[in-house]
């Protein structure tokens, strides 16, 4: 009896234990959406994925994502908030300012990703990728690494160098290198670019699915640019000449369409950030968001607008310098006249223009007589813009009046400034459905294009006292938009001395490359940055919006404070920032 009873109990206990412990939960768990490093680096696909990871850093806001906004630090643009680099423009930034910190950090992230490719590409089996292909991938990573380091050199000067011998995953808190000298950084960049030039395919040699990846021509052009920035004109010119003589590149016939789908993938683009848009594939840059108006797709912010003086610098079609006094006497000296020139009033219900300014027709006529790039790059008062309002296309007129609103068919500037607005790179309508998010404009953004190379070569030639060669290159760029050549006859087009030709190059780079993010670096390398100090940025109606503060220390940004807090080897801080 006793035994029987006990048996019953123990059977039950056992039963419990079995039920509860038979199904042991597995303690090895892996994420469902990520690849483990142990299983990565097996196939060419993996190599492509890691490479795309490097490229994706290009689009980062602190790398080239809002590079157009950097024009606000030059004579080309005005702006506000972070995309307009307001802290830098007004001289209020410090070593803790977000953009100072994040640019540094993001560029090194790009470098780390490039290093990772170089470190690991060897792990992919020979069947998947031949040594030749692997070399090509290494070259591509080096091109990108050079691009990142060149930015660091340009913005921070002497920076520490980390190459593929550093395994970030293991050494992340021991990365305490001191700063290398600018020359060391530069030669590191150049040697990366030499490797890239040696192994990268030429433009057009990539499969269509790989369109947008770095080419030999891109590496040559970048190397030329690096040398040009170091005033090694002769050596730079050879590389630019190589790019030209490869015959892989040409100016796209239409300047206007160059910055729209189609032109943005033309062979003028030597190296461009590839942008796409659309639901589920929003991988673009925020040009529309930060340069578009309230009338643009997604209702945008105008953080980056054009400097009034810059717009006034567009020549007449015949190459003469523009002068307001030719059109509106007293304009340049009297703010009241400026205001009257542009001011309209709306009807009381704000839906229509009650009274256009008397000068409206005059203005439109004046625009037509200017360098065509002006109207192609800018939304000017009383011109039209293809807006997108209340989920429908809407043609909007840029009327300067109180109470304008996109719902009534007007261009409305987010911050209310009366300034010229960018048209270039900004979405029109909804780009036939291609844009679904204002932060992702599906227009490839050039980092180096053929016109830039022509003008950089012109600069080299000019410095090498080959003014005629320089002028012919400038003229090539001007010819695309039917602007008369330098030295083509009229006195106002004459330029013979190095200084005169430089002025032409300076002008041509501004109008040709406006809002492509080159100008701040150009002014720095030309030593002209401080000429902006004290410049009051005014709207076309004469209102002043802010005054620039530029000091000699602004040629370099400070090393981020938190980085110095972490790594004292980075001292001394950049001059003027101590």
């Amino acid at each position: 009896m006793f035994m029987k009873k006990q048996c019953k109990y123990y059977t039950a206990i056992l039963f419990f234990l079995i039920i509860l412990l038979s199904g042991c939960y597995d303690l090895d768990r892996f994420p469902h959406d990520k690849l483990s490093s142990g299983t990565f680096w097996k196939t060419r696909e993996h190599a492509d994925q890691a490479m795309a990871g490097v490229y994706s850093m290009l689009r980062n806001d602190n790398v080239f994502g809002i590079v157009f906004g950097l024009d606000c630090l030059s004579d080309i643009g005005t702006g506000y908030d972070a995309p307009g680099y307001v802290d830098m423009a007004r001289g209020t930034y410090t070593a803790t300012t977000g953009q100072v910190v994040n640019k540094w950090r993001s560029l090194y992230e790009g470098i780390a990703r490039a290093n990772l490719v170089i470190q690991n590409i060897g792990n992919v089996s020979e069947n998947e990728m031949s040594q030749e292909i692997k070399n090509q991938y290494v070259a591509e990573a080096k091109f990108l690494r050079a691009l990142f380091y060149f930015q660091l050199l340009d913005f921070y000067g002497a920076v520490p160098l980390y190459d593929e011998t550093v395994v970030v995953a293991e050494e992340f808190n021991k990365m305490m290198e001191p700063r290398s000298t600018p020359d060391q950084v530069r030669s590191f960049i150049l040697s990366d670019l030499d490797a890239a030039i040696a192994s990268l395919p030429q433009e057009g040699d990539y499969a269509a699915a790989y369109y947008g990846r770095a080419t030999k021509g891109a590496a040559q052009a970048l190397k030329g640019k690096v040398l040009l920035f170091n005033k090694q004109y002769g050596e730079a010119s050879k590389l630019f000449e190589d790019v030209i003589s490869s015959k892989k590149y040409a100016l796209y016939p239409s300047y206007e369409d160059l910055f729209k789908p189609g032109g943005d993938a033309s062979n003028e683009m030597i190296f461009a950030i590839q942008n796409i848009g659309g639901v589920g594939k929003n991988y673009g840059m925020p040009m529309t968001w930060y340069m578009g108006t309230r009338s643009s797709f997604g209702s945008c912010w105008d953080n980056v607008t054009a400097a009034t003086d810059f717009v006034d610098s567009y020549e007449y079609k015949d190459g003469r310098p523009f002068n307001w006094e030719d059109w509106i006497p007293g304009f340049t000296t009297d703010d009241a006249i400026k205001d009257a020139t542009f001011r309209a009033t709306l009807t009381s219900d704000l839906t229509k223009v009650a009274k256009y300014p008397d000068a409206k027709d005059l203005l439109l006529e004046m625009y037509d007589q200017r360098d065509p790039r002006m109207q192609q790059s800018l939304i000017l008062p009383y011109t039209w813009y293809k807006g997108w309002v209340s989920n429908a296309p809407k043609d909007c007129e840029y009327v300067i009046a109180s109470g304008v609103n996109e719902t009534n068919g007007f261009v409305r500037v987010n911050n209310g400034w009366e300034v010229y607005l960018w048209r270039k790179f900004v979405a029109e309508y909804n780009m036939n459905g291609a844009i679904t998010d204002r932060a992702h404009t599906p227009i490839n953004f050039p980092l180096i294009r053929y016109a830039d190379v022509l003008l950089m070569l012109a600069e080299c030639y000019n410095e090498m006292e080959r003014q005629d060669d320089a002028v012919s290159l400038i003229n090539e760029v001007r010819a695309r938009v039917d602007m008369p050549g330098i030295n083509s006859g009229p006195s106002w087009l004459e330029a013979s001395t190095k200084e005169e030709v430089f002025e032409r190059i300076k002008h041509e780079r501004a109008v040709e490359l406006a809002i492509e993010g080159h100008r701040f670096s150009d002014l720095k390398r030309w030593g002209l940055l401080e000429t902006l100090n004290g410049k009051a940025e005014k709207g076309f109606t004469g209102k002043a919006y802010y005054t620039r503060v530029v000091r000699s220390r602004d040629y370099l940004w400070p090393i981020p404070q938190q980085e110095i807090d972490m790594n004292e080897n980075l001292l001394p801080q950049n001059p003027g920032w101590e």
């Binding site: 039950a12 206990i13 419990f16 039920i19 412990l21 939960y25 303690l27 768990r29 994420p31 469902h32 959406d33 990520k34 690849l35 490093s37 994925q49 490479m51 990871g53 490097v54 994706s56 850093m57 290009l58 689009r59 410090t94 070593a95 300012t97 540094w104 950090r105 993001s106 992230e109 790009g110 990772l116 970030v168 992340f172 808190n173 990365m175 699915a209 369109y211 993938a265 639901v279 589920g280 991988y283 309230r294 912010w301 009381s348 704000l350 309002v389 209340s390 989920n391 109470g403 609103n405 679904t436 802010y546 005054t547 404070q561 938190q562 110095i564 807090d565 972490m566 920032w577 101590e578």
Partner: protein
């Protein structure tokens, strides 16, 4: 008498607990009846020995002696027995039967023992029926008394014992407190009930009694839940705080159990950092911050890890907070921050009972920030700031004048954004619960409904919750049961936008009508104002989404217990917890109007879409626990052993789909759209396996010893770093039990115990996959198509393992003056080693997130004191409980001389965690003399102010801490000990008089100074389109002013006065009166007529008064977030 330990002092003292009390009373009745039977069976009166003073006496005298010295009544007939007959007995001491034999030897009288009676009668007449008759008639002698037993409040006491003194004759009171008992004419009765002072009452000359029992202070008789079991509080050797929650939740508007802990126990810090309906888990920390990571304690609800919000507060019976290593170590790797054990109500044997409690609460925010609401003033301040920054004025004088003269509030609004955004909400809560049980089945069930609309629009929550706890005894050796509970909650879609409101509310200006009386929403009326802020109207933002969240939660626990032999049991359980959160949303396109021009200036636009999202969380948990309990060596040695194993796994997954272009804006599902779609989804999981055990030894109830051990293995760590072992031991000495203490314990000392413990705990607060090196997506595009990119966005550390915390604790518990004064004092020293820390890395590592590393050590030292007094005088009861905690933490090992700096949070050896590191402000430069200091410095070093800009009049002058003549980052210094308060305190007084009760809860922290800077709420900076704080602008410096409390106004990109400095160091100490309540319980006579057992009505003020020097929103909330609400509550508690 183990039942006694279930009664906590609150239960006895306090009205609201009648429900539970009643269940206990019923149990007690049953137990009483049961014990009577035991006595009856145990009769051995014949063998009982009595002592006599003389050997010679009458029969009557002998009978009296027998009755006196035994429990027996002697029954006889006077006709048959001559009580005056003298007898002489042989011995002075003998068995009852022997005396009876002697006394009636030679007579015809015989005797019988029958139940409690000795029947004397003629042998000839003796048979069963005549004996019974004799007894019956004997019983009819004496008298029948009736009466009612009530407590001081007139509440009936059910199940009180009424015993005729000197006999076993007795009864218990019924559900109305009534009793009736047959006693001898001159009998005395003894009335007793657990938790009340026993009374003896003479019945002579009376048959009806109204008996009022006084409560007894018995704090140390509680039992408290400990890990995998319960223990008498007097026998605890670890540091455990028991919180009687059921009291609080019955009459406070507690929607989340976490809030109930605030101020309730020493060492427990509760911060309601977010009070948004549905997301109002308060953050809890126990004994300071022992880690640089998540310092939240482990929450165990009915034995299983759970989210504290998953239990309906009204279902909770008690909470135990396990604070030291010995009590928490049984939870091993997750216990480093302490453990909170939540026990829900269980059914008890007894009559079925139905309770209802409900309240209405009027909620509003405590307005501590005053924006500039006069728009004309606002425009002038803005202009001033812009001009100070050499920028053009934003607003024209005509516009300012227009506004100043404008009267119509729709055309010329002067909106106070706080008043316009927050409303008074009316929240209601109802809980209906039923409980009861038979001999073999016990249950508790409840249904709750909460409707909390919150204080912002479209952000409320409706919640239905239910619970069934049931347990049945299948056989004496087997019982099984289940706890099933769950909730359904519906959250408004605007809930999603709340964070957004706090971000953007400051990005509006007083010149905006938030909403026109006709329902239209405003943009800006002033065309000169920032068009961008037109879209930031908080009411418009809250309402521009349609949809909501539906959360469904089901928690089940199935368990069975086997008791194969005395003292041994095995319990196995399987638990499944499932939460599903379904989100649906679509945009609502709301136009923003300029009411001045009566035009739409901010059209509601965008592409229409429907988003459908689903999150699922599941937990599986199973455990087996064996227990053995016995006494040895003459019951001197108590031994109990517990051993068990458990395993659990956590899975979470989600998917989301968005599809564009609704056919019609009234439709709301994916199939009603025609455009493109995007989808996303992911999953994450972790698992853990554990073995644990405990041995308790007790010697004579004086010396107590406990040993715990737990072993845990977690999937979060790689194989060879996976297992962690967490031992602990503790000992206690109940000094009051020693004989030598008798002189004291006889007088004023009621109890005294010292205890000590030491042990190790773990913390596994790392991500599920942080030990693994992984690549995640970072896409690009080539050839106009997406190119999948992979990057190491998170770096890994394969060496990751547990944090280990070692806690030493010494404590003393005492009670004095019949336990009217009770208290305990604990000293603790907590050292956490191998702290998982995001070791800072130079920025050159890139943007990938850093893995945690086991690197630092932190100590927490402090004490906890709790004291309670309860007293009474007549019908007047009063008491007060208080607790005080001091804690100081220190980083003892970090990176040697190196430090980490994240913002102003500074971590370095020798300093507290997150010491605040920043510049110090010397003064606001207000006068020319002040400015002369600046010029002097510039004269010495032209670049003296290069780092932050040269200050001018109205600006802050920072201190040159290192004296190098330069003001720069090298002048930063430690200005405060960090964000952990050094002092915590709580105080809860109560008073009750007859049916009226009053109580309060005061709670606070002290010794915490934290840096807080918010551009638009506490800095003198202005920004186009943003709000201004009135206190700041009114205190600003302007030319001619010398008593400014804030610097001059500057445009926000000029950071001269907003560099991190002690100007923005805020003292976040506070004292909050969390609750004040006044209740009235209707007299029983009235209630009975309503067919109720109990009716209490109360009013309470929750969170109404806050005293703090903090200048921000709410000292418990960091920065701007959903603040705690002031609530005025009216509620009732009913029992049927």
């Amino acid at each position: 008498m183990e039942i006694k330990f279930l009664i906590t002092p609150y239960l006895i003292k306090n009205e609201p607990f009648k429900g539970i009390l009643r269940i206990m009373k019923i149990c007690f009745v049953l137990l009483f009846v049961f014990s009577f039977q035991l006595l009856a069976l145990d009769t051995k009166a014949q063998e009982a020995v009595i002592e006599l003073k003389t050997k010679s006496m009458t029969v009557g005298q002998l009978i009296n002696e027998i009755e006196k010295q035994t429990d027996y009544l002697v029954v006889y007939s006077n006709r048959e027995i001559d009580a005056n007959r003298k007898v002489t007995l042989r011995n002075k001491s003998d068995k009852v039967s022997a005396y009876l034999d002697e006394a009636f030897a030679g007579t015809d009288i015989g005797y019988d023992f029958e139940n409690n009676y000795i029947v004397l009668m003629k042998k000839a007449n003796r048979n069963a029926s005549t004996i019974a008759d004799m007894i019956r008639s004997a019983q009819q002698q004496g008298k029948t008394i009736t009466g009612r037993v009530v407590d001081v409040n007139g509440e009936p006491i059910i199940g009180a014992n009424i015993i005729e003194v000197g006999t076993t004759n007795g009864t218990v009171t019924d559900i109305d407190g009534n009793f009736s008992l047959h006693v001898k004419d001159d009998a005395a009765i003894r009335v007793s009930y657990i938790g009340y002072v026993e009374q003896e009452i003479k019945t002579a000359g009376k048959t009806s009694f109204n008996i009022v029992l006084q409560e007894e202070a018995i704090a140390l008789q509680e039992v408290v839940a400990v890990g995998y079991g319960v223990q008498r509080k007097v026998n605890l050797s670890g540091s455990v705080a028991a919180v009687d929650v059921s009291k609080m939740v019955e009459s406070r508007p507690i929607t989340n159990l976490s809030i109930a802990l605030a101020g309730a126990a020493p060492g427990v810090r509760v911060t309601s950092s977010n009070n948004r309906p549905g997301y109002d888990d308060a953050s809890i920390s126990i004994r300071g911050k022992g880690t640089l990571n998540n310092a939240s304690p482990l929450i165990i609800i009915d034995g299983v890890e759970a989210s504290i919000s998953s239990v309906n507060p009204q279902d909770v019976e008690s909470i135990s907070v396990l604070k030291d290593a010995s009590s928490a170590a049984i939870y091993g790797s997750r216990a480093a921050n302490g453990v909170i054990l939540v026990t829900t109500k269980q059914g008890k044997k007894g009559a079925l009972q139905l309770d209802y409690s409900g309240y209405m609460s009027f909620e509003s925010i405590r307005k501590t920030l005053e924006p500039v609401s006069n728009y004309a003033d606002y425009m002038e301040y803005m202009n001033e700031g812009y001009q100070n920054s050499n920028l053009p004025k934003l607003f024209s004088q005509e516009m300012i004048d227009t506004w100043r003269n404008g009267k119509d509030p729709i055309l010329y609004p002067n909106t106070d954004w706080i008043d316009a955004t927050f409303k008074t909400g009316l929240s209601t809560n109802h809980v209906l619960s039923a409980s009861g049980g038979s001999e073999t089945v016990r249950f508790y069930s409840s249904f709750g409904y909460l409707n909390n609309p919150g204080v912002m629009e479209n952000s409320g929550q409706e919640k239905y919750s239910g619970r069934l706890n049931i347990e049945g005894d299948i056989r004496p050796w087997l019982s099984v049961g289940a706890n099933v509970n769950g909730y359904f909650s519906d959250l408004d879609a605007g809930t999603d936008n709340i964070a957004d409101v706090f971000t953007y509310a400051s990005a509006t200006t007083p010149g905006m009508v938030f909403r026109h009386p006709d329902g239209r929403y405003g943009a800006m009326n002033n065309p000169e104002d920032d068009p961008q802020s037109a879209a930031n109207n908080p009411l418009r933002r809250l309402n521009n989404i349609w949809g909501g969240y539906q959360r469904q939660n089901l928690r089940t626990r199935f368990f069975g217990t086997l008791r194969p032999f005395e003292g041994f049991s095995v319990t196995g359980s399987f638990n499944y917890d499932f939460t599903d959160e379904e989100m649906k949303k679509k945009p609502v396109f709301i136009d923003g109007w300029n009411f001045l021009t009566n035009t739409i200036t901010s059209p509601g636009e965008g592409r229409s879409y429907v988003t459908s999202k689903d999150n699922k969380w599941t937990r599986h948990f199973g455990d087996v626990v064996a227990r053995y309990e016995n006494s040895f060596l003459n019951k001197k040695l108590d031994l109990s052993v517990m051993a068990g194993a458990s395993q659990e796994q956590y899975l979470s997954k989600n998917f989301t789909t968005t599809k564009y272009d609704l056919i019609d804006m009234n439709l709301d599902v994916i199939d009603a759209t025609t455009g493109e779609a995007s989808a996303g989804g992911s999953a994450s999981e972790w698992a853990m396996r554990s073995y644990f055990g405990r041995i308790n030894l007790g010697w004579e109830n004086k010396y107590l010893f406990e040993f715990n051990l737990r072993a845990d293995a977690s999937s979060r760590f790689l194989k060879d770093r996976r297992w962690g072992y967490f031992p602990s031991f503790s000992a206690a000495w109940r000094i009051d039990q020693e004989n030598f203490m008798q002189p004291l314990t006889d007088r004023w000392l009621s109890s005294l115990k010292v205890r000590a413990s030491y042990g190790s705990l773990g913390n596994n607060s790392v991500g599920n996959y942080e030990a693994q090196s992984l690549f995640s997506q970072s896409n690009y595009c080539w050839g106009d198509e997406v190119a999948v990119g992979m990057a190491q966005t998170a770096l890994a550390n394969a060496l990751l393992t547990w944090e280990s915390t070692y806690v030493s604790n010494i404590g003393i518990d005492f009670g004095m003056l019949r336990n009217q004064l009770t208290g305990s004092l604990d000293l603790f020293y907590k050292k956490t080693e191998d702290i998982l820390i995001d070791l800072p890395a130079p920025l050159v590592h890139g943007t990938s997130s850093l893995p945690k590393q086991n690197a630092a050590s932190v100590t927490n030292k402090g004490f906890e004191l709790s004291l309670g007094w309860r007293g009474k005088s007549g019908n007047f009861n009063y008491g007060i409980d208080g607790n005080l905690t001091y804690n100081k933490n220190k980083v003892v090992k970090f990176k040697g001389e190196d430090y980490s700096l994240s913002g102003v949070n500074y971590i370095k050896e020798g300093l507290p965690i997150n010491a605040q590191y920043m510049l110090r402000v010397d003064r606001i430069i207000q006068t020319d003399e002040d400015l002369a200091i600046v010029n002097e410095m510039l004269a010495k070093k032209p670049n003296a102010f290069a780092a932050y800009g040269v200050p001018q009049k109205g600006d802050l002058l920072y201190k040159d801490i290192n004296g190098d003549g330069l003001i720069n980052s090298n002048d930063r210094t430690i200005v405060s000990d960090g964000d952990n308060p050094k002092w915590l305190y709580g105080l809860s007084p109560y008073i009750s008089y007859k049916g009226i009760d009053f109580s309060a809860l005061i709670q606070g922290v002290a010794g915490v100074k934290v840096y807080w800077q918010h551009a638009h709420y506490n800095t003198p900076t202005v920004r186009y389109g943003y709000q201004l704080n009135r206190k700041v602008v009114e205190g600003r410096w302007y030319e001619g002013r010398t008593d400014a409390s804030y610097p001059r106004l500057l445009q926000s990109s000029d950071t001269r006065n907003t560099i991190a400095s002690d100007f923005y160091l805020e003292n976040k100490s506070y004292l909050k009166i969390r609750n004040i309540q006044l209740g009235y319980t209707l007299p029983q006579s009235v209630v009975n007529k309503m067919f109720l057992q109990r009716f209490r009505i109360y009013g309470s003020l929750e969170n109404f008064f806050t005293f703090t020097p903090y200048r921000g929103w709410d000292p418990e909330v960091s920065g701007m977030n959903y603040p705690s609400m002031k609530q005025a509550v009216i509620g009732i508690n009913l029992s049927f």
